[in-house]
Amino acid sequence: MDISLKFSPETLPESLLLGLLGMTVVMLALVLLMAAIKGQSWLVSKLTAGKHSAVPVAQPVAAAPAPVAVAAAVDTAVDLHDVDDKTAAMIMAIVADETDIPLEELRFTSIKRA
């Protein structure tokens, strides 16, 4: 390493300018990308809306976790503290839905009231 450290205030204006330029470039690139994403979403929604109006087919909806299965999981595997089975089953179903992870792939060890 051929580096010798010493206080070099003369570098400050140039470094600050470069930092400003760098942040501007990053911001610009990501703003461009944001605009592209918005454009692509708009385009896709227009195209799919057209398709849907032409062929009115029922959209497949992700199946909600079966209450029986949830209840069974609550009964067998999860430690419940101050939470009834029904609430626990709802929490587990919401977590599965929010995370897009099938319930059978999630493992709950305990649920307690905060």
Partner: protein, 383 residues
């Protein structure tokens, strides 16, 4: 008997033990202790063990005297094993392959659902330029300062790629600082998050994002590659590989390639990358005052990146009249998914009904793109 004694003496003189107690041998001893501490942190404390463990072991191997594991190939003489494996770092191959795997593992859905997350990912690159300015101020040259600054991107492969091109001598210190701070995000970020936001802001519950269609997810990696690489061609190895991996995942037609990229390939490359980066930490190269300066500047870079994301989060909260929780801004520092988890935890601390994880994943993956763009900019300037 005398001859045997001489042979024994020669054997001892040729052993690594003799070197450890010879002039300068103490440096190797110190590095062996450092390597053992890092091994302890990786195994016992589980600080980024996937990378810290091979890095620490590489460091251990290279500091055992006379091993020649990093010996350069000269003429007909073969080099050491790690010298050859290190070529993948030197030529920028491993970080790009890791990005391929990361792309195959990443769901850009939360980002596509809320494109404004990209702005948070951009704002959270502030630390890169703050650390760059400070590094220049204390006397580092521009290449070193750029390599140090990129620690603030909280993205290991990006930091390794940039440093291996701009200042390879700093690679071990920068890689170790970057991965250590990434592991310490749950300790570094929360105090800053509490300092920069009010309890009311932290308690903001965000509305559920819209569903993103499969078509949008397939188009995104193609559009992103074209746009970003056209703007900054030097980002091609990172953004190109990241988006290729993501296209593998989202297209649904190359399941085997996607599986390989996100499992076997990334694991193999991680082993090679970790052990060879660690092996660059030879005592003479590592035990210097500059290493301490790099580690301190790395922490500053992380802190300022977090602050940048939070400040922009506050701005978005104000503009949207309280619809955005500013805590998701700190997730813009890459470090997927650790930073998003920290946002979730802090949000829930302020309001137990808060569920910020999916909202924070948007800025989190935007941070990966942001840090790659920042690295591309620094490469274009100083490469």
């Amino acid at each position: 008997m005398g001859e045997m004694f001489i042979k024994l003496q020669e054997l001892l003189a040729d052993s690594g033990f003799s070197q450890l107690f010879a002039d300068g041998g103490w440096k190797n001893l110190v590095m062996i202790v450092v390597a053992c501490v890092l091994l302890y942190l990786a195994i016992k404390k589980q600080y980024e063990p996937l990378l810290l463990l091979p890095i620490a072991f590489g460091m251990l191997l290279v500091n055992l005297p006379f091993t020649g594991v990093m010996k350069e190939a000269v003429g007909d003489q073969n080099g050491g094993l790690l010298y050859y494996l290190y070529l993948g770092v030197k030529k920028g191959i491993y970080p790009s392959l890791i990005f391929l795997g990361i792309g195959a593992m990443t769901d850009f859905g939360p980002l596509l659902a809320r494109p404004s997350s990209l702005l948070l990912g951009a704002a959270a690159q502030l630390g890169i330029y703050c650390a760059f300015t400070l590094a220049r101020l204390i006397g580092f040259d521009v290449q070193s300062a750029a390599s140090i600054g990129i620690i603030g991107g909280a993205d290991g492969p990006t930091a390794i790629l940039l440093t291996s091109i701009l200042k390879p001598e700093l690679l071990p210190a920068i890689a170790i600082a970057a991965y250590s701070y990434m592991a310490l995000i749950p300790i570094i970020q929360p105090p800053l998050m509490r300092m920069m936001t009010s309890k009311k802001e932290r308690a903001v519950v965000m509305q559920q994002s819209r569903q993103v269609s499969k078509t949008e997810k397939i188009i995104f990696p193609i559009v992103c590659s074209i746009l970003v690489i056209l703007l900054l061609p030097s980002t091609a190895p990172l953004i190109g590989m990241l988006m290729l991996g993501n296209l593998f995942r989202e297209s649904g037609v190359v399941e085997r390639l996607s599986e390989t990229a996100q499992n076997n390939l990334i694991n193999i490359v991680t082993i090679f990358l970790g052990i060879t980066v660690g092996a660059t930490a030879a005592a003479d190269n590592f035990l210097r005052i500059e290493t301490l300066a790099i580690i301190a500047l790395g922490l500053i870079a992380f802190a300022f990146s977090t602050i940048g994301g939070l400040l922009f989060g506050k701005l978005m909260c104000w503009i949207t009249k309280g619809k955005i929780n500013p805590l998701i801004g700190s997730a813009g520092v890459s470090a997927v998914p650790m930073a998003a988890r920290v946002s979730q935890k802090e949000g829930q601390r302020a309001n137990p009904t808060n569920y910020l994880l999916m909202h924070a994943m948007g800025p989190n993956v935007a941070g990966v793109i942001g840090s790659a763009v920042a690295a591309g900019f620094l490469l274009a300037m100083f490469g």
